[in-house]
């Protein structure tokens, strides 16, 4: 595959299916530019989570090729895949926190797997947890936190190592109206600093408030919709 140095993710004729079932996504062609910001939309079951999981290198496509940070994942070994994943921050819809660990240890996870010095880990994590207003719950086990608090921990964990690519699945779904804009502001600020952002959402408010293009999944295909396009499907393939 010809690599585009300006692309964070390149997908060519990608299809994904589970076991022997039908394809969830077919012929996906996508070039995600460095520093871009997209919403990922589509009905439930449209394949948003599958597309995201290929983006954060957890699933391989059933066919086609995916290149992430210029590396074709079909020809990348396990350790190199791990190194690529360190450059990606992920916020899951179900948070996926380690419930037995404290909020602090959860947020510290991406830094520790990289082997960062503990002193630096403590400094960075403490600062970020204060910023998301969780400093009082720093040592609380994740299991004891409320839904909104867990979501903030999940977001802090995704951004702690200043990822080049940030993928978020419904990141503001469980937070209140005060925290949600603050978190979106964080994503926007990270994007301004160069992080490529993809946010999967069902929230029309979010899509309307922030004029970013949408990657819309429909009929197993991917379409791009620009904020000016009100028709819903008038955009082009990405």
């Amino acid at each position: 595959m010809a690599e585009n140095s300006n692309s964070i993710i390149e997908m060519r004729n990608v299809g994904i299916r589970y076991d022997q079932g039908p394809e969830i996504l077919s012929d996906i062609n996508l070039s995600l530019k460095k520093g871009s910001f997209h919403f990922l939309t589509g009905k439930s079951g449209a394949g948003k989570t599958s597309l995201l999981s290929m983006m954060y290198l957890w699933q391989r496509p059933s066919r086609g090729s995916i290149s992430v940070f210029g590396k074709d994942i079909n020809f990348t070994n396990r350790d190199s895949l791990a190194s690529l994943r360190r450059r990606i921050g992920v916020v899951f819809q179900d948070f996926r926190l380690l419930e037995h660990l404290s909020a602090f240890d959860n947020v510290a996870l991406p830094l520790r797997v990289c082997g960062m010095e503990e002193r630096e880990v403590r400094k960075r994590v403490s600062e970020l947890l204060s910023w998301v207003e969780l400093d009082r719950h720093m040592l609380d086990a994740a299991a004891t936190l409320s839904g909104g608090e867990k979501q903030r921990v999940a977001i802090a964990r995704a951004v702690i190592n200043r990822p080049e690519l940030l993928l978020a699945d419904e990141p503001t779904g469980n937070v209140d109206n005060f925290i949600a804009p603050k978190l979106m502001k964080l994503f926007v600020e990270l994007n301004k600093l160069g992080t490529t952002v993809v946010i999967a959402t069902h929230s029309d408010k979010l899509i309307n408030d922030f004029a970013y293009p949408r990657l819309h999944l429909q009929n197993r295909g991917l379409h791009i919709l620009y904020p000016s396009d009100k028709s819903g499907l008038g955009g082009s393939d990405v």
């Binding site: 396990r78 895949l81 994943r85 990606i88 996926r96």
Partner: protein, 304 residues
């Protein structure tokens, strides 16, 4: 300064509370217990063989068969004459450093366990025995020596102990082989138990491992956490196993020293042998650590 500075880092994988921990510790304890006792057996057999070889290689025995004659005095005199001839001959053999005929008292000592005290040896058709010490570097053709000895003293026969010793050595080698097989089996069973419990644990903690991978953890990061935990379990299990094995080894040793006849009582463990036994918990720790490490690495290969 944040209060987080004072908190201890918690392991991502909660392996400490695993239900398999106690099971593995018991398995490793039993394995080290069996290993220590079997190893002490192997080392004792080695020490016995070494002692036998040492004593046998440097000596041989010449037996002068008694002359049968109605006149006992004459027969005894002739037997002694053959003994003298044999001694004279043996003293000329290259590699022989000492030729000592056993006197009547020593001969009495040899038959005392069977015939008791107060036996008049002169009334018995007793062979005379000559103990011959050889130089450590002596290169002797025993077949030729036996022939020459028979010529020099027709009543003399040579016993270089090789025949009975070779049977004993074969027996001891067989025991050693059995013991080594047990050691291998014990190691393999323990490694197998670690392999399967680690795989089971990986299945239990699959959710956490997936998250770690998504965060960018390499297989080695997960494997190290398992290896560390298994090293601790291996060491503790090994120490317990050794703790129970040492009194048993001393007990078996004391039983061996009570056996008269001097064959098994030669089974002494040297300091080097004891060091080998005492480092078994470290061996258990190493085996546990590496088995866990490679099991995790191998199992995780199947994940993306």
């Amino acid at each position: 300064m944040s209060k987080s500075v004072y908190i201890a880092r918690k392991q991502e994988l909660p392996l400490k509370g695993d239900s398999t921990s106690l099971f593995l510790q018991v398995i490793i304890s039993i394995a080290v217990f069996i290993f220590a006792i079997t190893l002490s057996g192997v080392l004792s057999i080695n020490s016995i063989l070494e002692n036998w070889n040492q004593s046998i290689l440097g000596s041989l025995t010449v037996q002068i068969m008694p002359i049968n004659d109605a006149n006992q005095e004459k027969a005894a005199a002739e037997t002694l004459a053959y003994q003298e001839k044999a001694i004279e001959f043996l003293q000329t053999v290259e590699g022989v450093i000492k030729v000592t005929p056993l006197d009547d008292e020593q001969l009495k000592g040899l038959i005392q366990p069977w015939l008791g005290d107060g036996v008049n040896i002169e009334n018995l058709p007793m062979p005379r025995i000559i103990d011959v010490k050889l130089a450590s570097d002596a290169e002797i053709d025993f077949a030729k020596l036996a022939q020459d000895l028979a010529v020099a003293s027709p009543q003399a026969s040579l016993d270089n102990h090789k025949l009975w010793l070779s049977k004993l050595i074969r027996f001891a080698d067989g025991l050693k082989l059995i013991a080594l097989t047990i050691l291998l089996l014990v190691t393999a069973i323990s490694a197998g138990a670690i392999f399967y419990t680690t795989q089971m644990s990986l299945g239990l903690h699959r959710y956490i491992i997936e998250i770690l991978h998504i965060m960018g953890a390499k297989d080695a990061y997960v494997a190290q956490q398992y290896a560390k935990r298994m090293a601790v379990l291996g060491l503790i299990g090994g120490l317990f196993g050794l703790l129970f094995a040492i009194p048993i080894i001393f007990f078996i040793g004391s039983l061996a020293t009570q056996i008269e006849g001097g064959i098994i009582s030669e089974a002494n463990l040297s300091i080097g042998d004891w060091i080998m036994i005492l480092i078994l918990p470290l061996f258990a720790m190493t085996i546990s650590m590496f088995t866990a490490y490679y099991t995790v690495k191998r199992t995780l290969q199947k994940m993306l």
